[in-house]
Subunit: 216 residues, 2 copies
DNA sequence: CTGCAAAGAGGCGGC
DNA sequence: GCCGCCTTTTTGCAG
């Protein structure tokens, strides 16, 4: 892993065109070919190249290319303050707990938290307009599509329409003919106006956080 | 800007819980408090903390917190291979060319590429369910909502419903009473099944790339 | 291998 | 400030 601190300007051309004006930046080139350029402030990188990119150095210029996608990065070096090679042998795994997948897995075993009388039909039930997070049936045999959102920022209108999409798909599926599909949104919070939109469209909302689901 | 190459394990707790097993990583702490942790391979950072985060060092342990959001990062140091401070004075701007905004700006001056007889009403026309990229009228005075996607990866069903949302909003807007809104999707490519969905819902599709729009 | 949606998404513009 | 949406999104997972 190569780490260079330098004053340089950068151009990228590929999916878009971009130009970073002369700046003091940290250039990182990883062993797998990934290139990352960070300014001295801000969380996000300014430019990058994917793993597998080439790396050609000439005096004052570094060029990295990823021909498969037609991407090219040019680094015009003004001053190199430091240039170090780091050998890293140990690469541990990143374990993440509490994602939407996991929340859905647990919730599908605790369906009473959503509504009484539900039975699980499928997780990630395939429809032509995308997979339904949790598909259930109620006691009357009607399908119930459950859409789950884990995020802390409130759920917006697009999710209501996502649920309506699923309901529409269920309505036209042969196996649910004669049944009346329902939709339930499960999320920690809603954005302003969403309660009204859900009511208007006949959708339900159940407020649950990841922690609620785990603790129950 | 502090740059440390070290063998360590990391735990994050906040929006989720995450744990990075003992690894050789690059720790970056920027002057504005942002923290970024990169493994020796892969484009994306393994862990991070936002700008404004705290940074407390004690022997073998670094703790970074962002109390406002209840986030906490703990870095358990096993071996520090290198530890450098870099002073960066120059911070240039990043200029990006060819984003969706720009594509829409140019396209709104070349409306004949979308359909004949269109006149521009507004860019980013506000509706209660979000802004319409390009709002036009046709020769009959009917509103035409144009949704633009620049991305190379094909457009999925959610965009069809986004357009339907806008059309529904236009239908109930007083200024378009008695008119019949239409929707046109402009994008470089569609995912499988999208053509049928668009037809079914009475929406049109025009295939255009950013380059097409610029060159025309 | 390809398609599809989540992500600790971040960041930006508009109101 | 909140709200909506784009992103050089990347990454992971399932068919």
């Amino acid at each position: 892993m190569r780490v260079i601190f330098a004053r340089c300007s950068v151009t990228y051309s590929g999916r878009v065109d971009a130009e970073l004006e002369l700046s003091d930046v940290l250039l990182i080139r990883k062993d797998d070919g990934a290139v990352i350029i960070h300014a001295t402030a801000g969380l996000k990188e300014k430019n990058w190249m994917p793993s597998g990119s080439s790396w050609e150095e000439s005096p004052g210029l570094i060029v990295s290319e990823f021909p498969k996608r037609g991407e090219r990065l040019e680094i015009y070096l003004d001053t190199v303050y430091s240039d170090t090679e780091h050998q890293g042998e140990l690469s541990g795994k990143l374990i993440r707990i509490g994602g939407e997948r996991e929340m859905a897995d647990i919730l599908s075993m605790k369906l009473h938290l959503i509504a009484p009388g539900l039975s699980l039909v499928a997780r990630e039930a395939r429809t032509p307009v995308g997979p339904i997070d949790i598909l259930c049936v109620d006691k009357k045999g009607n399908p119930v599509a459950v859409e789950l959102k884990r995020g802390a920022s409130g759920v917006g209108p697009e999710v209501a329409y996502q649920l309506l999409r699923y309901i529409h798909a269920l309505e036209v599926m042969p196996e649910w003919q004669g049944k009346t599909p329902r939709g339930i949104l499960v999320a920690p919070s809603l954005r302003r106006g969403m309660k009204e939109l859900l009511d208007e469209r006949g959708l339900s909302f159940v407020r649950l956080t990841y922690q609620d689901v785990v603790d129950a």
